[in-house]
């Protein structure tokens, strides 16, 4: 299991792995747990995954990214289990010769992982309630989707 972990993600260590002599650009996305969502105070998020298929799905997305862009490095690691406020739930790292490919590839990878990898968030709130993540929790309506809102 390369892309799914129960351990805390060491983003600095992951960043350092992306360094490559041919790369002039490294883009790192860290998806962190924030203390609020849609007006509710979030205490923590408990992530569940179909581990084997989530791992495979992320591997396929990384392969696709490497086919679309000339990348020296592409990695994505998603944490499962209880993730606290300010902790990293998912990290995406990409390195390339110039910044454009790195930005584009990184965006592609995180968008695909969020849409396709069988991973689910279970939000626990300060008021003692909890909720499973819905189809799409995106805050804005003006970005691209792989699915349609109903």
């Amino acid at each position: 299991m390369q892309h799914i972990t129960q351990q805390e993600i060491n983003v600095c260590a992951e960043y350092n792995k992306a360094k490559h002599p041919e790369s002039g650009a490294i883009v790192m996305f860290s998806g962190d747990v924030r203390n609020h969502n849609k007006g509710q105070k979030v205490k923590y998020i408990d992530y569940e995954a179909y581990d084997a298929l989530a791992d495979k799905t992320i591997a396929k997305i990384l392969t696709e990214a490497k086919e679309k862009w000339d990348l020296q490095y592409a990695e994505c690691i998603h944490r499962i289990g209880k993730v606290g406020i300010c902790e990293t739930a998912v990290v995406v790292l990409v390195s390339s010769v110039h910044r454009k490919e790195a930005y584009d590839a990184n965006r592609f990878i995180i968008d695909q992982v969020k849409a396709l990898a069988p991973i689910w968030k279970h939000e626990f709130f300060e008021d003692g309630t909890s909720k499973w993540g819905a189809n799409c929790d995106c805050a804005s309506e003006d970005h691209e989707h792989l699915h349609h809102h109903h």
Binding site: L53, K114, A117, I119, W120, K121, W132, N135, C136
Partner: protein, 79 residues
């Protein structure tokens, strides 16, 4: 029998896994509709799910073989 695994919010209806009777030549679509009959409240969320068998997503027109383990995959909400 077919073992069916559930994740996330669907566990509230079905628990982690159930065993259901095998039906010859049943498509994934028909299979999902059959599951919906167990818990009518789960019918709507089930329509949004994908299905995986042997660690691969399958299409809704595929038929389900006997002795398989079926994974019902709700819309992703990771990240």
């Amino acid at each position: 029998m077919i073992k069916v695994h559930f994740f996330a919010a669907l566990k509230q209806y079905f628990t982690d896994s159930i065993s259901v009777e095998f039906i010859e030549n049943e498509t994934v679509t028909d299979f999902i509709q059959r599951l919906a009959q167990f818990y009518p409240d789960a019918a709507e969320p089930l329509t949004k799910c994908r299905v995986a068998i042997n660690e691969e997503f399958v299409s809704f027109s595929d038929t389900i073989q006997s002795q398989t383990e079926v994974y019902v995959i709700p819309p992703s909400s990771g990240g």
